[in-house]
Symmetry: D2
Subunit: 428 residues, 4 copies
């Protein structure tokens, strides 16, 4: 009886927690598209990116598909056609509209998609208000998953929008420009932070929310290593450019050099030169490059070449996670409202979270004992475990609630449109 009561309380807390998270997350998504026109919302600039309208719809689809459709008796989908139109890659959830054509879906309109969102909001809230007893925990779990899914899409919405805007010769600003942060001259040299390594544990232990790919928690042997106390900066990147980094083939991985040649890379994405000064385009429009801010919009290949040039290397993901477990989850996230990375401040191991995602030298592979869940939800992460490299930390476009030490972000080594940067590491 006590057990039953305790259980009920656990369930209530879970449901209530999910409800709060749901309300907050859904509201933030709308806040992010505030001020965007229907045209801004519909375009797609490359296959890797999606229209903002699609993000608005797909995150709603997720709740319809995996929560409402499963747990609301006799649930009627808002529009049966959306099941096809707004599925992303879940094969087991049915057919999917062609990814490279998402930007051609002018109808439903942005306003119809917002109606869709509201209908889903109401239905989920209603379900959470009086969930079927035997499924309450599972519903809470799925709603929480859907919220974290939506946080990922919030970040993609911003980076996809920036990418689309970057093709406009007028260089429109998503948010009004703000002055660069005031910093006290050149940042200090890197202060290396030492770690002894040994037999450590990494991965999620199952307490609190995590994606399936973060577990199981498992042992890893680490040799002694050091991490830079901060992210690599634009000043250092300008030195790399000035030193011929983009023209020195021996600094580059073979595949990286091939991409660099083909794409003609000579700077990070969105950089351009004006009157002898480096500028970059960002969510606050075009601005001079801030030398003290972390470099961003670089590929794995560039990060790796830079590290070699610097006489260092990229961290392994286990090293990063082991080090990250020594500092609180704090930093400059999307809630800060700057929408761009900012210079490091303070002593010790800084910027482990926020500002920019940090490329590691680790391929995105399954942890020992990893088994994806049954069904479509199991496609969330597992099927991408080849050809991608792990990034750790979080960025200025990530929700604070979405950052944690065990989080494994992943992209292909040539991709640059995320807020991706790096932190140097070296053997002791």
């Amino acid at each position: 009886m006590g057990g039953s009561t305790a259980n009920r309380k656990v369930v209530e807390r879970a449901i209530s927690g999910s409800g709060d998270l749901f309300a907050k997350t859904r509201a933030r998504t709308l806040a992010l598209v505030d001020g965007l026109s229907p045209e801004d919302l519909v375009v797609q600039s490359m296959e890797d990116a999606s229209p903002a309208k699609w993000h608005l719809a797909h995150t709603s689809w997720f709740f319809e598909q995996f929560v409402l459709g499963q747990y609301v008796p006799g649930y009627r989908f808002f529009d049966e056609r959306y099941l096809h139109l707004f599925n992303s890659y879940y094969v087991q959830a049915g057919t999917r509209f062609a990814r490279p054509r998402r930007g051609l879906v002018t109808r439903p309109s942005a306003s119809e998609v917002l109606d869709y969102r509201h209908a889903v909001d109401r239905a989920v809230s209603h379900l959470l208000a009086s969930p079927p007893k035997d499924a309450a925990v599972e519903i809470a779990r799925l709603v929480e998953l859907g919220c974290h899914h939506e946080m990922q899409h919030q970040e993609l919405l911003l980076t996809d929008l920036l990418h689309a805007f970057s093709f406009n010769p007028e260089m429109p600003a998503y948010r009004a420009p703000e002055p660069l942060a005031v910093t006290a001259g050149r940042e200090p040299e890197i202060t290396w932070q030492a770690f002894d390594g040994g037999l450590v544990e990494i991965g999620h232990d199952g307490k609190g929310f995590a994606f399936d790919n973060e577990g199981p928690r498992h042992k890893v042997w680490l040799e002694p290593f050091e991490l830079a106390d901060r992210l690599a900066t634009n000043r250092e990147w300008q030195d790399f450019i000035a030193d011929g980094g983009y023209e020195t083939q021996t600094l580059w991985l073979s595949d990286g050099w091939a991409v660099r040649e083909q794409e003609g890379w000579t700077t990070p994405l969105y950089w351009f030169e004006k009157d002898g000064v480096w500028w970059s385009f960002g969510l606050r429009g075009a601005q001079p490059v801030d030398p003290d801010a972390p470099v961003t919009h670089i590929s794995y290949y560039e990060a790796e070449a830079f590290a070699r040039w610097a006489g260092a290397r990229l961290p392994r993901e286990a090293e990063w996670e082991h080090a990250a477990s020594t500092v609180p989850v704090d930093g400059h996230f999307v809630e800060g409202g700057h929408f761009r990375p900012r210079p490091a401040t303070g002593p010790g191991l800084t910027q482990m979270y926020g500002d920019v995602w940090q490329w590691t030298q680790s391929a995105y592979s399954p942890y020992p004992g990893f088994v994806p869940p049954e069904g479509a939800i199991g496609e969330y992460n597992g099927k991408f475990m080849v050809n991608q490299w792990v990034l750790r930390g979080a960025s200025c476009a990530t929700s604070r609630a979405h950052a944690r030490a065990t989080y494994r972000n992943f992209f292909h080594p040539h991709q640059r449109w995320q807020f991706s940067g790096l932190r140097l590491a070296r053997d002791r």
Copy 2:
């Protein structure tokens, strides 16, 4: 003195004629986008196509660039940035925004582009109301050219929109569906119309408006020939399909077969099968194929293979023009408001104008003595005189005022998104 008065009257008539045409043309463009959302207006489905918003802006750019900027003293451009953004391919008119990226220009918005249109409308009207005396004829001529340029873009606006809509699984209808035309069963067999040929003249004689590529008028020797009295129909095309036309390599030109293989063509563009019946997608949504209506959305390759299958051939453009000069410029144009080709009616040589453009077997080459005008306007037609094939007539998306016997339309042999069909010809 009498001459001077006569001249003045000519000038006045020219100016007044241009003014009427301008008002009417500009109004029709707006009527065509009536009911479209900002999202509908911004998308671009392939490099060959352009967003409707771009068409709205580029046709205004044309008047700004070639009329207002030249003839209004101290003219201030509506927005200097538009000069780059909305130039299409006029190298001598300055830089141009990348064609394949036109669909990413979310800003200026549709409403800003409409403001641009209105400003240009006012300025042109103002100029036409009191033109500088010594330039009045030239201004009238350029405004007339700009109107015909805009009529071309009206047609492209419709075909580009249809192409974009075709990727939407919801198959949105540009205009509400209307029932198929009632026709009296199977159309009669072709009645061949005979022509003697001989030494004839084709090409524009300079009276009234024409594009530069329609002249000079010149002699051509024609052998005796016959033309079908009507366009090839969907019924005939279904026979072609049923008879294995798309699988019989020997019917096809070598380059045509290669494209057919690569693209996997088995029907005209926009056709699909549903429950054993052929349907096609068009500006009035998806409808069953009308067997009596002219086939449309076919490439030159398909037209040519069909003609071989039918034991006939495509007409040469001189044959077509010679025959067309015997009938009035009449037919089913955009003013009819059907937005799709309709069955032939009546006796004699029908459907020479309207419904669908007719592929000829003539490459788009300069006529003897052709010299393009000086300057950017000279880029209008001449530089495309290779690799394209001539289509004659007009389509259900063409303005009546835009159709004439000497008109030379041209597209690459693989292109299918225009209202393109064919009429059979044969030697006598």
Copy 3:
């Protein structure tokens, strides 16, 4: 009876003429590959080109397929597998080995292919020695066709080999270098040759050999025109380069500029700069460009842009043929053994034949009344009548017996690996 005797004599002459031509043609092919290694014979440098070994085999296949297999009772093919392997594009003659893979056929070896040739030689000679009476004329006709077919492949063999050699950094010479022709300083300015035009006849009249695409003979109306008395020279081309011809977009057709951009063309094919001097690679290895020799290895796009730069135009094919009919079929052919174009000499209309093929502004289209023969032979020419442009004359790699006023050569406008040049024309 007299008729019968006369007929018999005609037949005998036809057979005997074919036999001579056959012996001579087959021998020349072997002479052309003299000195080439098995490796030289097997490689293929692009899809447009074929290995020399393939040319050796395919020309034999032609006689087996169209003569021996049809007219020798119980004929046993040398190797059934060769029917597939060495068919080029004759759909009605059965399956064909993938064109882009021809260079991977290391077996049969060169020596086996030579055995194949000898076997075919013997069988054809045997057949010609005692042909079946009722088929003798047809056999003679087909053997003659096969010989002209082989002459085409002789030319391709040389240009394909040159293309393959051009990728070898050692720049091997097909034939030993020889000094440039001694010429008397700068060639004179162009002397324009005037023609009145009017209603003329072009096309083959059926007397003597011609390909099907050269007929029927038919009337064409020509406006008065002029032709340059000689081919365009390397000196003129160097002026074109020096004057920024390759960088001036307004000189180029739109499609031509796109190709020039994509390919990065800045000179004709095979040109390179060494110590401030233009060199070119050819069948006699790398040599300084001869300013008095005709320019070669240029695309239609380059020829057309050059003509515009020169204030002239390319001839129409009817103009060219009409003019060519006024001079004897003479010039610098493959028999000369120079394997490269040479400077013009003498007065009047020179270099109409030999040195380099001359791009015309005429698309390769069927003449009025053209009907290809029945069966596979009908695929020889007709199915290529789209997207290609006509070249007239002949080149330094053409047999004298293969040159005539009505000959229509054709290539795609971007292709440059043939001995292709130009002669200027203009309206009077």
Copy 4:
């Protein structure tokens, strides 16, 4: 003194060992090309592959570049042009001829390349006979490296040749067909071999030859695991096919499915169906698939999907190496002369070496503490450490002397032309 003597003996042994290995390795390369024609030797079927002649030359280049050029005073290169022509990817060793064009180098001929080999053989033998004292050990080390480099190219020579032959419709056999091995019916079910894991060591310890990428030896934590006692067989692969493995998207990694779709894979490379029976093409020509032999010519994507279908997974490379250290380096290598994988025999953990390389689930990444050597030799392995996956073991085309437990082979996940197969693993 004793130390000095001991040292001298070590040096002598090293030199003598290198000399033996050199003679044997160089001879085997020649034996492998025995019976091939100059045409067989020159062709290149794709960018990933190289002509056999190139392998013959490049392996000689390696000794010239890194040994003779460094350690023979006043050494004159056989042909300076070969330094460019036969460099593969060593940026620090100078310029390189374009990889995709290797198959167009008809000159130097095969026989000139053999002369080159012989000259290098003589010079290296001469150097080893009386090496400069202070460089003797380094020379021995480099010659040994060059021999192992050549063994890699021996294997590539065979797989590249097979790939080129596979395009020939005559399906030529590299070596005469031999009957399939006689096996006693269906092989037993897999007997899983269990390992406890724990903190183990992997990587090369520096004793004997190894490539730089095999070290340093380092600790790895392993969870308990099991390995199949033999390689996956063709019988199992046929079951996978029959069970719809190639059509079941949920079995595949996302990138794998995309490649499978694009390439249309439905079987391993070189398989085809004839009269309802599976055949495969190999170095002994086309033969029916041997159900008991290991499956080969599969990509990582296929291996990974197969493992999922089988309810298992691929081994990690550390698991594989840990297990391999328990069995002797024995198996079916190139010396066996079968040139194809053969069925497993005997109890226990079999086929760890030879037959086919075994895909692991490990990305090819640097070991902790890995530092590539200075100079061009340092480009051997390190710059490929991204986007490739590790294969372990050896194949029927590998020299016995080339196989060892620490060997890390690596290819891109889509590549199939190597003798690549798999062994199943699972968690305990």
